[in-house]
């Protein structure tokens, strides 16, 4: 499992306002390998979310190329990008964005039905995934308002996984959760990653970042350094120390 699935070259994103240009990302080169749990860190305004959205095809880069398994998605049209995202990307956001008028199962299945017509297979997969994230049969027909924040986020993760995407993009998935729920959600993400799912996640939180095997530190639109935690086992106390030292050296 060492093959590159996502590769960005000389990626730049510029927001212009009249003659004033704001370069949010500057000539970034990133390679994401299958099975990686990559975390993007950096202070506010360093371009973390912009990078995540550019990599996931939610936003188009101003300059540079993004290759997804050898296909230059940066040159796709908006419609083509939308189809690409449906098939190959899963998204988890800080705001959970579940449809309040649909049951948990329907919320998940609607995402699946965008890609496949096989209702039965999707339902089976949805149930299996829900079970996997620790949600039992009782919750299938609950509505989002009847779920706790952590449960809702786990449902959102299942929704992100329903189409078996190559990469899950998460933007501060635990940002709006209390610590117990956050740990629950992170455990789910760690498990999913252990099962081979590639994850790219933006976070501010060192405890969240600790789950990753690779940390990219972004500053003023440039990756100033990266840290590999792959050599440390999951519960190694050194893992936290190394990460802390790394972040401190970055001026965290």
């Amino acid at each position: 499992m060492n093959n590159t699935i996502l590769k960005a070259e000389m990626l730049s994103k510029t927001y212009s306002n009249g003659s004033i240009m704001q370069h949010v990302l500057k000539n970034l080169n990133i390679e994401i390998k299958a099975g990686d749990f990559t975390v993007i860190m950096g202070s506010s305004g360093s371009g973390k979310s912009t990078l995540l959205y550019a990599l996931s095809g939610m936003d188009k880069p101003t300059l540079g190329t993004i290759d997804f398994k050898g296909e230059a998605i940066s040159s796709y049209s908006n419609d083509k990008l939308a189809i690409f995202r449906r098939k190959h990307c899963g998204f988890v956001f800080q705001q959970i964005y579940l449809n309040d008028t649909m049951s948990v199962l329907d919320n998940i299945m609607i995402s699946g039905l965008l890609v496949s017509r096989d209702k039965k297979a999707i339902a089976t997969r949805a149930k299996q995934l829900l079970h996997q994230v620790g949600l039992n049969d009782e919750c299938y027909h609950k509505y989002p308002s009847q779920l706790s924040g952590g449960e809702a986020q786990r449902v959102a993760i299942v929704r992100a996984l329903i189409n078996a995407p190559e990469i899950v993009f998460a933007d501060e998935p635990t940002g709006a959760l209390n610590s117990t729920n956050a740990i629950n959600v992170l455990d789910v993400m760690s498990e999913v990653n252990a099962a081979g799912q590639s994850i790219i996640m933006v976070t501010h939180d060192i405890k969240t970042a600790r789950r990753a095997n690779r940390i990219l530190y972004l500053k003023d639109g440039v990756i100033i350094d990266e840290l590999s935690l792959g050599t440390y086992v999951k519960d190694d106390p050194d893992r936290h120390g190394v990460l802390r030292a790394f972040l401190e050296s970055m001026g965290w």
């Binding site: 730049s12 370069h23 500057k26 000539n27 300059l63 440039v222």
Partner: protein, 442 residues
């Protein structure tokens, strides 16, 4: 003249309010009690009373109406006589005695006639007056607001604008126009202010122009002075060689030898001084160029795609070909200076080679450098002169060069600019003449 109209309108409105109020107060009168009429009515009732009293049948109705007056009769014999009378007093009704003169001719009071006048009239009037006063007050208030608003728009706001204007002028922004409103009192005033700004701007522009042309003159002159100085130096050298070759023995007179030695010394002095003049002129020229801001470079982060546009802008003969795609990235450059550099290289090629021009791009990610090669297929430059092309005032020795006007500054400035942007320029012969621009990548 708006203000006058408003004052008139204000006065008229106030007068109207006043007139309405006064005429209303004058017009409403509380129904006065008409004594004769009441007396008459009383007399009639008394007469009727007498008539009825005499007869057996019935009694006079206790209430009635006569001559527009409603009345009620309260007899002393009535049980509620007292309360009726008190009620009437409370209502401010008119009360008259009802006399009966039937008995022994002596009139005696048998009761009271109460005239039910309308007591609510006063209250109505009071209410109407309050309404009227409220209306008048509101009208006055609105008028005051209107006047205040006018004062604000026609006086205070123009002052605010003026204040802002003065600040801009003080900051040296002479392009800021003062918006003029001829309709208000400050129109003329504003106009003179704007005139002042206009004149100031012209004066400053004139000064700037004068300064520039003065400096350009200095630059041009210093360049021109270099030619005679070079001649002087050449002649000095020539004279020195000549005099050194003269054998004093062959000359008549004893002073000849000393004269020649002295001459050689003096020529050496002239030569040395000419060198100093040359150096000073160079300094002067350099200083003026710098002052002309010809060498200032403002580097910013720019998308590399701007380079394509620069070439497109220069491609008036359709000879520019792109050999490969430009790697998109962010580069450090001053778009103005970079376009000057490219302009210069391309126009040189047009002037001296006049062939197709091939543009190649190469992005070195590890070195963080974008190299742009501009290549033509002309004669190129003399290999010996190649290292010199970027020197100040250097011009090649080829025939085409001699027949083309130029100052020998283009590539010199190009090198300065590229250095200012953190890049470099390299020139070499390959098929024709090739210039490689190396630009720093962010």
């Amino acid at each position: 003249m708006k203000i006058r109209r408003i004052i008139i309108a204000f006065t008229v409105l106030l007068l109207a309010c006043y007139t309405v109020a006064v005429s209303y107060i004058n017009g409403t009168h509380l129904n006065k009690v008409d004594v004769t009429q009441i007396n008459q009515v009383v007399k009639t009732i008394e007469k009727e009373w007498t008539r009825y009293d005499g007869s057996e049948d019935g009694t006079l109705p206790r209430t009635g109406e006569a001559a527009g007056l409603t009345y009620q009769i309260a007899l002393t014999s009535d049980e509620n006589y007292q309360s009726l009378v008190f009620e009437a007093i409370k209502n401010r009704n008119t009360i008259m005695d009802l006399m009966d003169s039937s008995e022994n001719g002596q009139p005696a009071m048998i009761g009271k006639i109460i005239f039910l006048t309308d007591g609510s009239e006063e209250a109505t009037m009071k209410r109407n007056l309050i309404n009227m006063i409220t209306m008048s007050f509101l009208v006055v208030l609105i008028m005051v607001y209107v006047v205040l608003r006018l004062v604000y728009t026609s006086i205070l706001r123009p002052f605010g604008v003026m204040k802002q204007f003065a600040r801009k002028i003080a900051d040296g922004d002479l392009e800021f126009r003062l918006p003029m409103d001829r309709g208000n009192y400050f129109g003329a005033f504003t106009e003179s202010f704007d005139l002042m700004r206009e004149e100031l701007r012209k004066a400053r522009q004139g000064e700037y122009q004068a300064n520039i042309s003065k400096k350009e003159l200095v630059a041009e002159l210093s360049h021109d002075i270099k030619t005679p100085v070079a001649t002087i130096k050449a002649i000095c050298e020539l004279l020195g060689i000549k005099l050194a070759g003269v054998n004093p023995e062959n000359l008549p007179g004893s002073t000849a030898a000393t004269t020649i030695t002295e001459s050689i010394e003096k020529i050496a002095v002239i030569d040395a001084k000419a060198d100093i003049i040359d150096a000073l002129i160079s300094n002067l020229f350099h200083a003026t160029l710098e002052e002309l801001e010809m060498l200032k470079v403002n580097v910013s982060e720019q998308p590399s795609t701007v380079i394509i546009q620069m070439f497109r802008d220069m491609d008036s003969f359709g000879k520019i070909r792109f050999k490969n795609d430009l790697a998109e990235c962010l580069i450090f450059c001053d778009p103005l200076r970079l376009s000057q550099v490219i302009d210069n290289i391309i126009s040189n090629s047009y002037k001296y080679a006049d062939t197709d021009i091939d543009i190649g791009f190469n992005l070195d990610k590890t070195e963080k450098k974008l190299t742009v090669t501009i290549k033509d297929y002309g004669e190129g430059v003399n290999p010996d002169e190649c290292p010199l092309v970027c020197e100040k005032f250097f011009r090649g020795s080829g025939e085409t060069v001699k027949n083309t006007p130029g100052s020998g500054l283009g590539l010199y400035l190009a090198r300065q600019f590229m250095a200012g942007m953190g890049g470099s320029i390299r020139c070499y012969n390959e098929d024709g003449f090739t210039v490689a621009l190396s630009i720093k990548v962010v």
